[in-house]
């Protein structure tokens, strides 16, 4: 299983996907602000706003195609592109959604790779292999498997997930919000956050955008919370930020507003455990509030840039600020000023390095 590199290939595809969802979401938002609507008749009258809104919506509708193609590409390189694309189209048409696109991409990629290495043709015939045989065979097999075997449980599963989520009430919504909030924020844009991102994106393509909305604000808790904490510490004259940290905080704040948590790293790393406790609690509250107030928005990434798309911009911002303030107050009590000497020696985390192998 290890050689399959599932995580790395998925992450490669996600890395291509992020600007795609940002761009499509933003088009929808701009179109929406200008009063655009989905165009139904492409020969009739249309406004610029309609064009933008429809383009963005079509883009998000193609998520399954995009993810399938880029997973297959990550696995099988060029050979994966065509089968990944076509199987993604199949997933979109038959309603297998994002989840189906993920599976189709992996199947197409691995099969394309396998066929590439197993099919041996005489030299004079070799040219036809990448041109016709590989894409055709891979698409044929994966397409039929998706349509007649895997598609059936996927449709059922999707129906189940959507109906469960839309009927969730009261306490269970809050719990879901807590979990999404914590998991999105706790590793500051690292691998856990990206796994949640995939999960939320899947729900988003089914039209359920609240989880992604919680992820967006939860990712901003740490940088905004640190900024608030700094301001509070100045007010009550509690000296807990070193001058290096104060400098780092400026870029952390700006990056945080755009939902890039990593700018806070220099500060977080000085005191990883304590600050992560603050982050988890702040993000949990924030996530629960976003779910409780049913905040939705069509953009999958972008921090404060998602505000034009928010159905309740005020409540979403309130959830974000409440979470950040909780973070800030906790942090104010827990955080210690790094002494000059420890800042110099840079204490490092004890990761298990013994498993790291040098190959070659």
């Amino acid at each position: 299983m290890k050689n399959l590199n599932i995580k790395k290939n998925l992450m490669t595809a996600i890395s291509y996907l992020i600007p795609f969802v940002c761009c499509s979401g933003m088009l929808m938002v701009v179109g929406n602000i200008l009063g655009g609507q989905t165009i139904k008749n492409f020969n009739g009258d249309m406004h610029v706003a309609d064009v933008l809104f429809t383009l963005g919506g079509d883009g998000l509708g193609l998520l399954a195609v995009f993810i399938s193609m880029f997973i297959a590409y990550a696995i099988a390189d060029r050979t994966g592109i065509v089968p990944g694309f076509l199987c993604g189209v199949l997933c979109k048409e038959y309603g297998y959604g994002f989840l189906g696109g993920l599976l189709a991409g992996f199947l197409a990629g691995y099969l394309a790779n396998y066929l590439k290495n197993t099919i041996k043709l005489p030299n004079w015939f070799e040219g036809i292999k990448p041109m016709l045989i590989l894409p055709f065979l891979t698409t044929l097999i994966v397409g039929l498997v998706m349509r007649y075997i895997i598609g059936i449980p996927i449709n059922a599963l999707q129906g189940f997930i959507t109906s469960t989520l839309t009927t969730l009430q009261g306490g269970s919504i809050l719990v879901l919000g807590l979990v999404v909030g914590i998991l999105s924020a706790v590793d500051y844009g690292g691998p856990i956050n990206k796994v949640v991102f995939v999960f939320c994106l899947g729900l988003m393509s089914e039209g359920y955008t609240t989880p992604m909305n919680a992820l967006i604000s939860a990712s901003m808790i740490a940088p905004l919370g640190l900024t608030i904490c700094y301001l509070l510490s100045r007010i009550i004259k509690k000296d807990i930020f070193s001058s290096d940290e104060t400098n780092a905080l400026k870029s952390a704040f700006i990056m945080g507003c755009c939902q890039i948590t990593e700018g806070s790293y220099p500060i977080i790393l000085n005191d990883l455990v304590r600050i992560t406790i603050c982050t988890a609690i702040g993000a949990a509250v924030n996530g629960a509030l976003v779910f409780y107030w049913e905040c939705t928005n069509p953009i999958a990434w972008g921090g404060f840039f998602t505000i034009p798309g928010q159905n309740h911009p005020g409540l979403w911002t309130a959830a974000l600020l409440i979470g950040s303030c909780i973070f800030a107050i906790l942090c104010l009590f827990l955080k210690k000023k790094p002494s000059a000497s420890t800042a110099e020696s840079e204490e490092e985390q004890d990761l298990n390095l013994s498993s790291i192998k040098i190959s070659g």
């Binding site: 590199n5 290939n9 992450m11 996600i14 600007p19 790393l269 490092e348 004890d350 790291i356 190959s359």
Partner: protein
């Protein structure tokens, strides 16, 4: 020792560059020469020259995604880690490589 490396993370805007900075800092502190290439959202920056790769004793790949041009390192000693390791423990990583490489 001569180190070359590639950093690439998922979003390709932050971890990639932090990992690069941390590795360069840690390697120089330990007295090694190092060149890092980044493969972020913007594309390849500071691309490693074939000469640098040829002269390198070890290749550090701090990558969360599949990278471009991996075949450049065929036959080299390659250490592959998630960017997280480079961000959190670059000093220890360099030390670990020193101990295990036995130059």
């Amino acid at each position: 020792m001569n180190i070359v490396g590639v950093a690439a993370c998922v979003a390709g805007v932050a971890h990639t560059y932090i990992a690069k900075e941390k590795l360069i800092k840690a390697a120089q502190k330990a007295g090694h020469t190092i060149s890092m290439e980044t493969q972020g959202q913007i594309g390849i920056e500071d691309e490693l020259s074939s000469e640098k790769i040829k002269n390198a004793d070890v290749v550090i790949l701090a990558v969360d995604t599949a990278i471009k041009g991996r075949d450049r390192f065929t036959g080299k000693k390659v250490v592959e880690i998630p960017t997280e390791v480079a961000v959190h423990s670059s000093g220890k990583l360099i030390k670990h490589i020193e101990e295990n490489l036995k130059l």
